[in-house]
């Protein structure tokens, strides 16, 4: 990968993480004013990216990076085109405003430094996500956004709702992340292409790949969870537990758009298929309607905005997946507009909350006089949101209707969905922007007055941004909309729409939307009641479902674990030996590894006697009425084995076996001295039969295996070598002993280590007694 | 004890002189050494040494005899179709009072006919003996007193 000249971009990619590292120290020195310093980081990044504007506007792209994991063929690489550049500018630009806003909003918070760290880390992750070229680069940043958002949502971790929301976001987006990873790896496997730029170049490769649909579903799993598409939308409103700067930044302007970004990014290579153009509009449209309906139900400013965000995300997905070039252009315009107006409105909501102590829209009114700048910012944003000229939102809305209406029934349905959704969003948007500020003054917990500059600068800039970008639409189209739309569509496109209304169907539809919106605005209180009633009737939703899923998972896990890990040794042993029986029996039968039929063994009478003694001993152990008899009987079989070894030319073995058997019995006797045991053990007959069956199968198969093994011609090279060299080189006549101390001395070294450790462990067992911290006796010396 | 050491030294000298360390040669050296000491018995006061050696030999012989005899009796008893047993434990009053003597006596009693040492009383005055035929306790006591116990006391005092 070409590295030259791109180090600055790499630095910019890393810069927010460095900022995260120093943020706590800056806060320690400068308090909340550190925001000014820290805002320089995104500002610098923004500045860096503006440098790409002209070349990207000319249709150039930058794909660069460093070799990261060559052993896996993975690069750390980035790709700058209209799409990623726009996102990068939004992220850094809004990011700078958010940093400032945070300084005001969380002024005096004991963990402000930590907050800045988190938000900067998030910024780095989000920026990396949109710029990433390599799949794994993308995935890493994708997951980092989930993790940092977990930290940010849970920032106010003392509250249970915060913790719940944080975990919920982590799990839902984590689910999506893994789905995305699977999708990306599948794409990589199918096409051999591991980066976006490569994929974009080989345009048709993916669409024709055999598992296209699987890959699509997996990738969409990532996109839909991240972008809160129905039915995964529930985590987003809950994430409003986060401090408002987080809501404004992550949950409206940036992170939730990651899914939209992904869909847009893949549109040229995955779009234009029936699946794509069905799944996206259906889910997007549903999300749009559900989101707006739920938004109507809310009284909390942030929640109202959150649900309209859900709707907007649905709208974006619907537009991107619709399949027409115009719709894609509309998505681009709407995305930019939304980032500005929604970010502004969230900050306004936060400002109101900060200054009045409440966010409940029914408890707010008439504070416009006290907070004029905030009011202005709110109105600016709301107009854009309502799609009124001369704001950027208006351009977007015109383009939406131009893109969706194609005369067919399907497009009619989609257009209808868009109209209803837009109208409701219009209503909610203005409700947020007007209701608290206008009308009679309502008493609020805190006495409202205008906040400090840090609190109103951000919304005001963004509100004005919606106006300026629209007014200067040729410029914004040239540098922003066109390059981005080209990237989404996959070929150069030219957007011409401007603030000057063009008479036509789109304008008509816009007027319809506004009319419907005003109606809805006026009937908002009534609509709220209806929705509340409806939801009460349904009584269940994905949010509740999440709790049930978690609880259910834990419960099922617990049940399964209780069965599998029963805590009873005899179950464990039974399972183990059933496994052994199967492990021996099945392959032996399946692969024909049974022994040939042997001759009847010819043994000498005393050899038979020894075997008989062994069997009698075994029988006695089994039959023993009490354990003591069993122990003594154990001695018999050990004794018989020792005799057997003696008869089979193994004096050392016989010697050792005699000694060991005797000592075992001695230790048993010493140990058993203090044991008061019930004389018998009970094994129900059924259990007995099962145990006998298991034992018999294991025993029989092991015996058969041994017989089979001995029927193979034996290679005695090793023993011949030992016999030849035992005395000649190793100076010992007892070959067995020479093996033990010389040929295979290492075995013996390990063996005596075992003996030593066993002795020590037994000493520890005997001497250390629970609760009594010391070994009582001094006798240990 | 000193004489025993001298005897061993003589045996070693013998083997060194003859240049063979074989077992037979050592035994031969020991016997010859004993003979040499016997020659000078009056000068070195070794009468007790030999007397004790003879008594020990006598004890060993008695023991072997009794062992074979007892084994035989047990064999006969066991193989008889009708075992008319009158077993029991009796307390044998000890004359020996040194640990070593008591132990030796107890062991010898165990290895010999129909008797088996079970325990020594706390005050070491009595040896409890289980006899397989306890019909005449006094005769048993007499046998022990005049057999093993006497021989032991002779050998070690």
């Amino acid at each position: 990968m070409a590295a030259d000249g791109h180090w600055l971009t790499f630095l910019v990619l890393m810069l927010p993480f460095a900022g995260a590292a120093v943020a706590p120290f800056l806060v320690r020195s400068f308090g909340h004013n550190a925001a000014w310093l820290l805002a320089l980081i995104p500002a610098f990044m923004f500045y860096h990216f503006t440098g790409f504007l002209s070349s990207v506007a000319n249709g150039e792209t930058v794909a660069a990076g460093y070799s990261w994991i060559p052993s896996l063929g993975v690069d750390f690489s980035w790709y700058i085109d209209g799409l990623s550049l726009t996102f990068a500018l939004l992220i850094t630009g809004i990011g700078a405003l958010i940093v400032l806003y945070s300084g005001g909003y969380l002024k005096g918070h004991p963990h402000l430094g930590r907050f800045f760290s988190f938000i900067l880390m998030f910024m780095g992750a989000m920026q990396g996500l949109v710029l990433a070229d390599g799949f794994l680069t993308l995935f890493v940043f994708w997951e980092l956004t989930s993790i940092t958002s977990f930290l940010l949502i849970g920032f106010d971790h003392v509250r249970e709702a915060s913790r719940r929301a944080a975990l919920q976001a982590l799990i839902v987006t984590g689910l999506g992340g893994l789905s995305l990873l699977a999708g990306l790896l599948l794409i990589w496997n199918m096409t051999g292409l591991g980066s976006m730029s490569a994929l974009l170049e080989a345009e048709g490769a993916l669409r024709e790949a055999p598992l296209y649909l699987a890959a699509l579903l997996l990738v969409l799993g990532g996109a839909f969870t991240k972008s809160a598409q129905f039915p995964f939308h529930f985590w987003l409103p809950n994430a409003m537990e986060a401090p408002t700067p987080v809501s404004a930044y992550l949950h409206s302007a940036t992170m939730v758009k990651a899914g939209v970004y992904l869909v847009m990014r893949l549109n040229p290579v995955m779009g234009d298929t029936v699946a794509w153009e069905t799944i996206l509009p259906v889910f997007g449209g549903t999300t749009l309607i559900v989101g707006t309906l739920l938004a109507v139900r809310q009284t909390d400013l942030k929640l109202m905005l959150a649900y309209t965000t859900v709707s907007s995300l649905g709208l974006l997905i619907m537009l991107t997946g619709f399949g027409s070039e115009k719709a894609a252009e509309a998505a681009v315009l709407y995305l930019v507009a939304h980032s500005m107006f929604k970010g502004a409105l969230f900050m306004v909501a936060g400002g109101i909350d900060h200054e009045t102590g409440t966010r409940d829209i029914t408890k707010l009114g008439g504070i416009g006089r006290a907070m004029p700048i905030t009011f202005a910012a709110a109105v600016l944003a709301a107009i854009s949101m309502g799609g009124l000229p001369p704001f950027f939102g208006f351009l977007a809305k015109e383009e939406i209707y131009a893109g969706l209406w194609q005369g067919s029934g399907w497009s009619g349905l989609i257009t209808l969905v868009a109209i209803v959704g837009n109208a409701l969003m219009f209503a909610v948007g203005f409700a947020v922007a007007l209701k608290p500020f206008t009308g009679p003054k309502v008493e609020t917990p805190k006495h409202a007055h205008e906040g400090p500059i840090l609190l109103w600068l951000g919304p005001l800039v963004l509100g004005l941004g919606g106006l300026l970008t629209a007014l200067a639409s040729p410029l914004s189209h040239r540098f922003i909309s066109n390059p981005m739309a080209s990237a989404v569509v996959g070929e150069p496109v030219e957007i011409s729409i401007s603030v000057v209304p063009h008479v036509g169907l789109p304008l008509l539809l816009s007027v319809m939307t506004i009319a419907l919106g005003i109606t809805a605005y006026l009937a908002l209180a009534r609509g709220r009641e209806i929705m509340a009633g409806t939801l009460r009737t349904i009584g269940w939703g994905p949010d509740l479902g999440f709790d049930q899923a978690i609880g259910g998972t834990v419960r099922i896990s617990s049940t399964v674990t209780r069965v599998v890990q029963s805590g009873r040794l005899d179950y464990y042993m039974t399972a183990t030996f059933i496994a052994l029986a199967l492990a021996l029996f099945v392959p032996m039968i399946l692969f024909g590894e049974l022994p040939a039929l042997p001759d009847f063994p010819s043994l000498r009478f005393y050899e038979w006697t020894v075997l008989a003694i062994a069997f009698i001993g075994l029988g006695a152990v089994l039959h023993a009425r009490d354990r003591l008899t069993a122990i003594v009987s154990l001695g018999i079989q050990g004794f018989a084995v020792a005799l057997l070894f003696m008869l089979l030319g193994a004096p050392d073995l016989s010697f050792t076996q005699f000694m060991v058997e005797t000592l075992s019995v001695v230790i048993l006797a010493l140990v058993m001295t203090r044991l008061r045991l019930s004389p018998t053990d009970h094994r129900p007959t059924g259990e007995k039969a099962g145990d006998i069956a298991i034992a018999a199968v294991c025993g029989a198969t092991l015996g058969l295996m041994l017989l089979r093994v001995t029927q193979i011609p034996f290679d005695d090279t090793l023993s011949a070598f030992f016999a030849e060299n035992s005395r000649a080189i190793a100076h010992g006549r007892n070959i067995v002993n020479v093996i033990i101390v010389d040929f295979r001395g290492l075995d013996t070294l390990g063996e005596i280590a075992v003996v030593m450790i066993a002795g020590l462990a037994i000493l520890a067992l005997v001497r250390i007694r629970a609760g009594k911290p010391a070994d009582a006796r001094k006798g240990g010396g | 004890m000193t004489l025993y050491l001298i005897n061993i030294l003589l045996a070693l000298a013998w083997t060194a002189v003859t240049g063979s360390f074989s077992l037979a040669n050592i035994v031969l050296g020991f016997v010859l050494g004993a003979g040499a000491i016997y020659l000078i018995r009056e000068q070195v006061g070794s009468l007790g040494y030999f007397a004790r050696a003879f008594r020990l030999t006598g004890l060993a012989a008695l023991f072997l005899y009794e062992l074979v005899l007892s084994a035989w009796r047990v064999a006969v008893l066991v193989l008889k179709p009708d075992m008319n047993l009158k077993p029991g434990i009796f307390a044998y009053p000890l004359r020996a009072d040194r640990d070593f003597e008591i132990t030796l006596l107890a062991n010898l009693i165990t290895l010999t006919p129909g008797t088996l040492s079970v325990d020594v009383s706390e005050d070491r005055k009595y040896l409890y003996v289980h006899a397989i035929d306890c019909s005449d306790v006094e005769a048993l006591k007499r046998d022990i007193a005049q057999g093993f116990e006497r021989k032991i006391l002779e050998a070690f005092r």
């Binding site: 004096p651 010992g732 010389d742 001395g745 005596i752 002795g759 005997v766 001497r767 | 640990d99």
Partner: protein, 139 residues
């Protein structure tokens, strides 16, 4: 179990058995036996001593803690394997030599020390177990 009869004879029996165990250890290279069996016999001897006369006399007789003896044994075995590093030979290569003791040539080898290490480990560990259990008995 500290009966007069047993107590009187146990020390002799113990020394006899220890002697026998060393015999078994030393001839292991040529005849059945070796460090492990020798160690077991010696440990049995100490166990008998302990049962007959109590644990303290055994501990006094051994002087070192049995587990220290065991550790020493492992060390001896491992070190005897390390000698060969000086001869540019692999771990556990037997080194043989003859030293003169009072004019008598005596074969010594690292292999012998290895076996002695085995012996010590076994004596130490098994004795430790036996004594610990026996001691608990009278606790």
């Amino acid at each position: 179990m500290r009966t007069l009869i047993f107590r009187t004879i146990a020390p002799y029996l113990t020394s006899l058995m220890v002697l026998f165990s060393i015999f078994v250890l030393l001839r292991g290279h040529n005849e059945p036996g070796g460090g492990f069996i020798g160690g077991l016999i010696a440990a049995s001897a100490f166990a008998i001593y302990g049962i007959a006369c109590g644990v303290s006399p055994v501990r006094r007789a051994l002087y070192f803690h049995p587990m220290a003896i065991s550790g020493c044994g492992l060390l001896v075995s491992a070190l005897s394997g390390l000698v060969s590093i000086f001869e540019e030979m692999p771990f556990l290569t037997g080194q043989w030599g003859v030293i003169e003791v009072l004019g008598v040539p005596v074969d010594i080898s690292t292999v012998l020390f290895f076996d002695i290490g085995v012996y010590l480990v076994v004596v130490g560990s098994i004795t430790s177990v036996a004594l610990a259990l026996e001691e608990r008995e009278h606790a």
